[in-house]
Protein backbone atom coordinates (compact mmCIF):
# COMPACT_ATOMS: atom_id res chain seq x y z
CA UNK A 1 0.00 0.00 0.00
CA UNK A 2 2.69 2.41 1.06
CA UNK A 3 4.58 1.54 -2.12
CA UNK A 4 1.64 2.65 -4.25
CA UNK A 5 1.27 5.91 -2.37
CA UNK A 6 4.94 6.68 -2.96
CA UNK A 7 4.68 5.73 -6.63
CA UNK A 8 1.58 7.87 -7.12
CA UNK A 9 3.33 10.74 -5.40
CA UNK A 10 6.29 10.44 -7.75
CA UNK A 11 4.06 10.25 -10.82
CA UNK A 12 2.07 13.23 -9.62
CA UNK A 13 5.15 15.37 -9.06
CA UNK A 14 6.56 14.32 -12.44
CA UNK A 15 3.38 15.36 -14.19
CA UNK A 16 3.43 18.71 -12.38
CA UNK A 17 7.02 19.30 -13.48
CA UNK A 18 6.17 18.40 -17.06
CA UNK A 19 3.15 20.70 -16.99
CA UNK A 20 5.26 23.54 -15.58
CA UNK A 21 7.83 23.26 -18.31
CA UNK A 22 5.16 23.09 -20.99
CA UNK A 23 2.92 25.86 -19.76
CA UNK A 24 5.56 28.54 -19.29
CA UNK A 25 6.37 30.48 -22.48
CA UNK A 26 10.10 30.48 -23.27
CA UNK A 27 9.88 33.38 -25.71
CA UNK A 28 7.54 35.60 -27.68
CA UNK A 29 7.10 36.48 -31.34
CA UNK A 30 8.31 40.04 -31.96
CA UNK A 31 8.05 40.31 -35.75
CA UNK A 32 5.88 38.48 -38.27
CA UNK A 33 4.97 39.06 -41.89
CA UNK A 34 3.25 37.07 -44.61
CA UNK A 35 2.46 33.45 -43.76
CA UNK A 36 4.04 33.00 -40.33
CA UNK A 37 2.89 30.49 -37.74
CA UNK A 38 3.70 29.11 -34.33
CA UNK A 39 2.70 25.47 -33.95
CA UNK A 40 2.40 24.30 -30.34
CA UNK A 41 1.02 20.87 -29.41
CA UNK A 42 -0.55 20.51 -32.88
CA UNK A 43 -2.25 23.89 -32.70
CA UNK A 44 -1.23 26.25 -35.48
CA UNK A 45 -1.52 29.94 -34.61
CA UNK A 46 -0.98 32.80 -37.03
CA UNK A 47 2.02 34.57 -35.51
CA UNK A 48 1.90 38.20 -34.44
CA UNK A 49 3.92 40.24 -31.95
CA UNK A 50 3.19 38.79 -28.51
CA UNK A 51 2.37 35.21 -29.64
CA UNK A 52 3.98 32.94 -27.02
CA UNK A 53 6.51 30.25 -27.97
CA UNK A 54 6.90 27.10 -25.86
CA UNK A 55 9.36 24.26 -25.52
CA UNK A 56 8.53 21.97 -28.45
CA UNK A 57 6.93 24.71 -30.55
CA UNK A 58 7.68 24.99 -34.25
CA UNK A 59 8.11 28.27 -36.15
CA UNK A 60 6.87 27.95 -39.70
CA UNK A 61 6.81 30.36 -42.63
CA UNK A 62 5.35 30.23 -46.14
CA UNK A 63 6.77 31.45 -49.46
CA UNK A 64 6.47 35.14 -48.51
CA UNK A 65 6.68 34.79 -44.75
CA UNK A 66 9.13 35.76 -42.05
CA UNK A 67 9.14 35.56 -38.25
CA UNK A 68 11.30 36.84 -35.39
CA UNK A 69 11.34 35.51 -31.82
CA UNK A 70 13.20 36.67 -28.71
CA UNK A 71 13.73 34.05 -25.98
CA UNK A 72 13.80 34.71 -22.24
CA UNK A 73 17.59 34.41 -22.15
CA UNK A 74 17.83 37.13 -24.84
CA UNK A 75 18.61 34.76 -27.71
CA UNK A 76 17.20 36.39 -30.86
CA UNK A 77 16.13 34.15 -33.72
CA UNK A 78 14.57 35.12 -37.05
CA UNK A 79 13.56 33.10 -40.08
CA UNK A 80 13.03 33.92 -43.74
CA UNK A 81 10.54 32.24 -46.12
CA UNK A 82 9.81 28.50 -46.43
CA UNK A 83 11.33 27.76 -43.04
CA UNK A 84 10.61 25.24 -40.31
CA UNK A 85 12.41 25.57 -36.98
CA UNK A 86 11.58 23.57 -33.84
CA UNK A 87 12.71 24.27 -30.30
CA UNK A 88 13.78 20.87 -28.97
CA UNK A 89 15.46 21.83 -25.69
CA UNK A 90 15.16 24.92 -23.55
CA UNK A 91 16.37 25.25 -19.97
CA UNK A 92 16.99 28.65 -18.42
CA UNK A 93 17.55 28.52 -14.68
CA UNK A 94 20.93 30.19 -14.21
CA UNK A 95 20.73 30.03 -10.41
CA UNK A 96 20.61 26.22 -10.60
CA UNK A 97 23.03 25.89 -13.51
CA UNK A 98 20.22 24.42 -15.66
CA UNK A 99 20.91 25.74 -19.14
CA UNK A 100 20.23 24.38 -22.63
CA UNK A 101 18.97 25.62 -25.98
CA UNK A 102 18.75 23.22 -28.90
CA UNK A 103 16.81 24.14 -32.03
CA UNK A 104 16.30 22.15 -35.22
CA UNK A 105 16.34 23.90 -38.59
CA UNK A 106 14.47 21.43 -40.82
CA UNK A 107 14.52 23.74 -43.83
CA UNK A 108 14.81 27.39 -44.77
CA UNK A 109 16.89 30.29 -43.51
CA UNK A 110 17.81 31.43 -40.01
CA UNK A 111 19.50 34.47 -38.41
CA UNK A 112 20.68 33.73 -34.87
CA UNK A 113 22.04 36.05 -32.17
CA UNK A 114 23.07 34.01 -29.14
CA UNK A 115 22.01 35.02 -25.63
CA UNK A 116 22.77 34.33 -21.98
CA UNK A 117 22.59 30.51 -22.26
CA UNK A 118 25.39 30.48 -24.86
CA UNK A 119 27.40 32.84 -22.67
CA UNK A 120 27.06 30.74 -19.51
CA UNK A 121 27.17 27.25 -21.05
CA UNK A 122 28.20 27.23 -24.73
CA UNK A 123 28.29 23.43 -24.92
CA UNK A 124 24.55 23.32 -24.17
CA UNK A 125 23.64 25.36 -27.26
CA UNK A 126 23.26 23.92 -30.76
CA UNK A 127 21.32 24.22 -33.99
CA UNK A 128 20.63 20.84 -35.57
CA UNK A 129 20.04 20.55 -39.31
CA UNK A 130 19.46 17.54 -41.59
CA UNK A 131 23.06 17.94 -42.81
CA UNK A 132 25.01 18.68 -39.65
CA UNK A 133 24.96 20.35 -36.25
CA UNK A 134 26.09 23.90 -35.52
CA UNK A 135 27.79 24.52 -32.17
CA UNK A 136 27.79 28.11 -30.95
CA UNK A 137 30.42 30.10 -29.06
CA UNK A 138 28.56 33.36 -28.40
CA UNK A 139 27.95 35.02 -31.71
CA UNK A 140 25.71 35.99 -34.59
CA UNK A 141 25.43 33.71 -37.59
CA UNK A 142 23.11 32.69 -40.41
CA UNK A 143 22.29 29.20 -41.66
CA UNK A 144 20.41 27.88 -44.66
CA UNK A 145 19.02 24.42 -45.30
CA UNK A 146 18.00 23.69 -48.87
CA UNK A 147 16.29 20.37 -49.51
CA UNK A 148 18.57 17.96 -51.41
CA UNK A 149 17.72 18.02 -55.11
CA UNK A 150 16.67 14.59 -56.32
CA UNK A 151 19.06 13.18 -58.96
Amino acid sequence: MRYWVVLLGILFSLSINAADERSEPIGYVKTASGEAFVITAQNRTAAQPGTPVFLGSQLQTGAQGSIGVTFKDETVVSCGPNTELTIDEYLYQPSQGKLALVTNLLKGSLNYVSGVIAKLKPDAVAVKTPNGTIGIRGTQFVAKVEPEAKP
Partner: protein, 201 residues
Protein backbone atom coordinates in the same frame (compact mmCIF):
# COMPACT_ATOMS: atom_id res chain seq x y z
CA UNK B 1 14.97 44.72 -74.98
CA UNK B 2 17.00 47.32 -73.14
CA UNK B 3 20.60 46.81 -72.10
CA UNK B 4 19.85 46.66 -68.42
CA UNK B 5 17.41 43.79 -68.72
CA UNK B 6 19.64 41.72 -71.00
CA UNK B 7 22.54 42.23 -68.65
CA UNK B 8 20.38 40.75 -65.92
CA UNK B 9 18.89 37.92 -67.92
CA UNK B 10 21.96 36.64 -69.76
CA UNK B 11 24.00 35.67 -66.69
CA UNK B 12 20.95 34.05 -65.12
CA UNK B 13 20.32 32.02 -68.28
CA UNK B 14 23.98 31.02 -68.44
CA UNK B 15 23.97 30.02 -64.77
CA UNK B 16 20.88 27.88 -65.15
CA UNK B 17 22.39 26.15 -68.20
CA UNK B 18 25.54 25.41 -66.24
CA UNK B 19 23.39 24.24 -63.35
CA UNK B 20 21.52 21.89 -65.64
CA UNK B 21 24.77 20.35 -66.94
CA UNK B 22 26.44 19.92 -63.56
CA UNK B 23 25.52 16.64 -61.89
CA UNK B 24 24.55 15.95 -59.23
CA UNK B 25 23.25 19.40 -58.25
CA UNK B 26 24.97 20.77 -55.15
CA UNK B 27 22.74 21.29 -52.13
CA UNK B 28 23.12 24.86 -51.01
CA UNK B 29 23.05 24.29 -47.24
CA UNK B 30 25.59 26.26 -45.26
CA UNK B 31 26.33 28.30 -42.19
CA UNK B 32 27.98 31.74 -42.33
CA UNK B 33 29.44 33.67 -39.41
CA UNK B 34 28.50 37.34 -39.03
CA UNK B 35 29.82 40.09 -36.82
CA UNK B 36 27.80 40.20 -33.61
CA UNK B 37 25.66 43.25 -32.86
CA UNK B 38 28.18 44.30 -30.15
CA UNK B 39 30.95 44.47 -32.77
CA UNK B 40 32.72 41.28 -31.66
CA UNK B 41 33.01 38.13 -33.75
CA UNK B 42 32.52 34.75 -32.08
CA UNK B 43 32.91 31.28 -33.42
CA UNK B 44 30.73 28.43 -34.65
CA UNK B 45 31.62 24.80 -35.19
CA UNK B 46 29.77 22.70 -37.74
CA UNK B 47 29.77 18.92 -37.43
CA UNK B 48 28.37 16.98 -40.35
CA UNK B 49 28.57 13.54 -41.93
CA UNK B 50 31.61 14.60 -43.95
CA UNK B 51 33.67 16.36 -41.32
CA UNK B 52 33.96 19.15 -38.80
CA UNK B 53 34.77 22.79 -39.53
CA UNK B 54 35.46 25.76 -37.30
CA UNK B 55 34.35 29.16 -38.57
CA UNK B 56 35.89 32.11 -36.75
CA UNK B 57 35.99 34.91 -39.34
CA UNK B 58 32.98 37.08 -40.14
CA UNK B 59 31.51 36.65 -43.64
CA UNK B 60 33.01 33.23 -44.15
CA UNK B 61 30.84 30.16 -44.62
CA UNK B 62 31.09 26.37 -44.60
CA UNK B 63 28.68 23.68 -45.84
CA UNK B 64 26.52 22.10 -43.12
CA UNK B 65 27.81 18.59 -43.92
CA UNK B 66 31.28 19.76 -42.83
CA UNK B 67 32.82 18.70 -46.15
CA UNK B 68 34.76 21.92 -46.83
CA UNK B 69 36.60 24.50 -44.73
CA UNK B 70 35.18 27.99 -44.33
CA UNK B 71 35.53 30.29 -47.32
CA UNK B 72 34.58 33.91 -47.95
CA UNK B 73 30.96 34.57 -48.86
CA UNK B 74 29.86 37.74 -50.67
CA UNK B 75 27.47 40.34 -49.29
CA UNK B 76 25.25 39.76 -52.34
CA UNK B 77 24.89 36.05 -51.58
CA UNK B 78 24.21 36.71 -47.89
CA UNK B 79 21.60 39.28 -48.83
CA UNK B 80 19.99 36.96 -51.37
CA UNK B 81 19.83 34.00 -48.99
CA UNK B 82 19.22 35.80 -45.68
CA UNK B 83 17.79 39.24 -46.50
CA UNK B 84 14.34 38.26 -45.25
CA UNK B 85 15.63 36.54 -42.10
CA UNK B 86 17.85 39.53 -41.30
CA UNK B 87 15.02 42.00 -41.89
CA UNK B 88 12.82 39.98 -39.49
CA UNK B 89 15.38 40.20 -36.66
CA UNK B 90 13.64 41.64 -33.60
CA UNK B 91 14.99 44.68 -31.76
CA UNK B 92 17.87 43.48 -29.62
CA UNK B 93 17.03 43.06 -25.93
CA UNK B 94 18.07 45.70 -23.41
CA UNK B 95 19.20 45.14 -19.85
CA UNK B 96 19.14 47.68 -17.02
CA UNK B 97 20.79 47.41 -13.60
CA UNK B 98 19.12 49.11 -10.65
CA UNK B 99 20.75 49.70 -7.26
CA UNK B 100 19.36 50.36 -3.81
CA UNK B 101 20.19 52.56 -0.89
CA UNK B 102 21.71 50.05 1.58
CA UNK B 103 19.45 47.41 3.12
CA UNK B 104 15.98 48.38 1.88
CA UNK B 105 13.93 48.74 -1.29
CA UNK B 106 14.65 52.44 -2.00
CA UNK B 107 16.47 53.06 -5.27
CA UNK B 108 19.54 55.25 -5.51
CA UNK B 109 18.88 58.56 -7.29
CA UNK B 110 20.88 57.39 -10.30
CA UNK B 111 18.84 54.20 -10.65
CA UNK B 112 15.52 55.97 -10.09
CA UNK B 113 16.42 58.19 -13.05
CA UNK B 114 16.58 55.06 -15.28
CA UNK B 115 12.90 54.17 -14.76
CA UNK B 116 11.52 56.53 -17.44
CA UNK B 117 14.05 55.08 -19.92
CA UNK B 118 12.91 51.55 -19.12
CA UNK B 119 9.27 52.49 -19.59
CA UNK B 120 10.04 54.24 -22.90
CA UNK B 121 11.90 51.16 -24.14
CA UNK B 122 9.02 48.86 -23.12
CA UNK B 123 6.49 51.13 -24.83
CA UNK B 124 8.21 51.10 -28.24
CA UNK B 125 8.59 47.31 -28.50
CA UNK B 126 5.93 45.13 -30.15
CA UNK B 127 4.96 42.03 -28.13
CA UNK B 128 7.32 43.11 -25.36
CA UNK B 129 8.10 40.83 -22.42
CA UNK B 130 10.00 41.89 -19.34
CA UNK B 131 11.83 40.00 -16.58
CA UNK B 132 12.62 41.67 -13.27
CA UNK B 133 15.27 39.70 -11.42
CA UNK B 134 16.41 40.42 -7.87
CA UNK B 135 19.95 39.67 -6.69
CA UNK B 136 21.67 40.04 -3.32
CA UNK B 137 25.23 39.95 -2.02
CA UNK B 138 26.46 37.05 0.14
CA UNK B 139 26.00 38.59 3.61
CA UNK B 140 23.52 36.49 5.64
CA UNK B 141 21.65 33.25 4.91
CA UNK B 142 20.91 32.22 1.31
CA UNK B 143 17.15 31.90 2.08
CA UNK B 144 16.96 35.33 3.63
CA UNK B 145 18.84 36.81 0.68
CA UNK B 146 16.57 35.08 -1.85
CA UNK B 147 13.54 36.52 -0.04
CA UNK B 148 15.06 40.01 0.15
CA UNK B 149 16.03 39.95 -3.55
CA UNK B 150 12.49 38.89 -4.47
CA UNK B 151 11.05 41.70 -2.34
CA UNK B 152 13.25 44.21 -4.18
CA UNK B 153 12.32 42.81 -7.58
CA UNK B 154 8.62 43.00 -6.64
CA UNK B 155 9.08 46.59 -5.44
CA UNK B 156 10.55 47.53 -8.83
CA UNK B 157 7.74 45.72 -10.65
CA UNK B 158 5.14 47.62 -8.61
CA UNK B 159 6.93 50.91 -9.22
CA UNK B 160 7.17 50.36 -12.98
CA UNK B 161 3.50 49.35 -13.21
CA UNK B 162 2.52 52.37 -11.13
CA UNK B 163 4.39 54.57 -13.59
CA UNK B 164 2.40 53.11 -16.46
CA UNK B 165 4.56 50.27 -17.81
CA UNK B 166 2.50 47.84 -19.88
CA UNK B 167 4.10 44.59 -21.07
CA UNK B 168 2.66 41.57 -22.89
CA UNK B 169 4.24 39.46 -20.14
CA UNK B 170 6.08 40.30 -16.94
CA UNK B 171 7.97 37.89 -14.71
CA UNK B 172 9.35 38.71 -11.27
CA UNK B 173 12.16 36.42 -10.13
CA UNK B 174 14.88 36.11 -7.53
CA UNK B 175 18.33 34.67 -8.03
CA UNK B 176 19.26 35.50 -4.41
CA UNK B 177 23.00 35.26 -3.85
CA UNK B 178 23.54 32.60 -6.55
CA UNK B 179 24.16 34.87 -9.55
CA UNK B 180 26.75 37.41 -8.45
CA UNK B 181 27.78 40.25 -10.73
CA UNK B 182 31.07 40.57 -8.83
CA UNK B 183 32.38 37.18 -7.67
CA UNK B 184 33.00 37.22 -3.91
CA UNK B 185 33.38 34.67 -1.10
CA UNK B 186 30.43 34.04 1.25
CA UNK B 187 29.64 36.75 3.84
CA UNK B 188 31.02 39.59 1.72
CA UNK B 189 29.25 42.94 1.58
CA UNK B 190 29.30 44.07 -2.06
CA UNK B 191 26.95 46.88 -3.06
CA UNK B 192 27.27 46.06 -6.77
CA UNK B 193 25.76 42.64 -6.12
CA UNK B 194 22.67 44.09 -4.40
CA UNK B 195 20.82 44.83 -7.59
CA UNK B 196 17.70 44.29 -9.66
CA UNK B 197 18.12 43.48 -13.34
CA UNK B 198 15.41 44.48 -15.78
CA UNK B 199 15.54 42.58 -19.07
CA UNK B 200 13.40 44.21 -21.78
CA UNK B 201 12.81 42.00 -24.83
Amino acid sequence: MNMRLSRLILPVAAASLLGACASPPKPNSYVALLESPDGSTGKVVVRGSKGEQVIDKAKTAAPLDGSQPAAAVSDEKLKQDFGAAMAARPLLPERYLLYFVSGGTVLTAESAALLPKIIASVTTRPGVDVSIIGHSDTVGKADTNAALALKRAQAIADLLKEKGMKATALSVESHGESNLLIKTPDETAEPRNRRVEVSVR
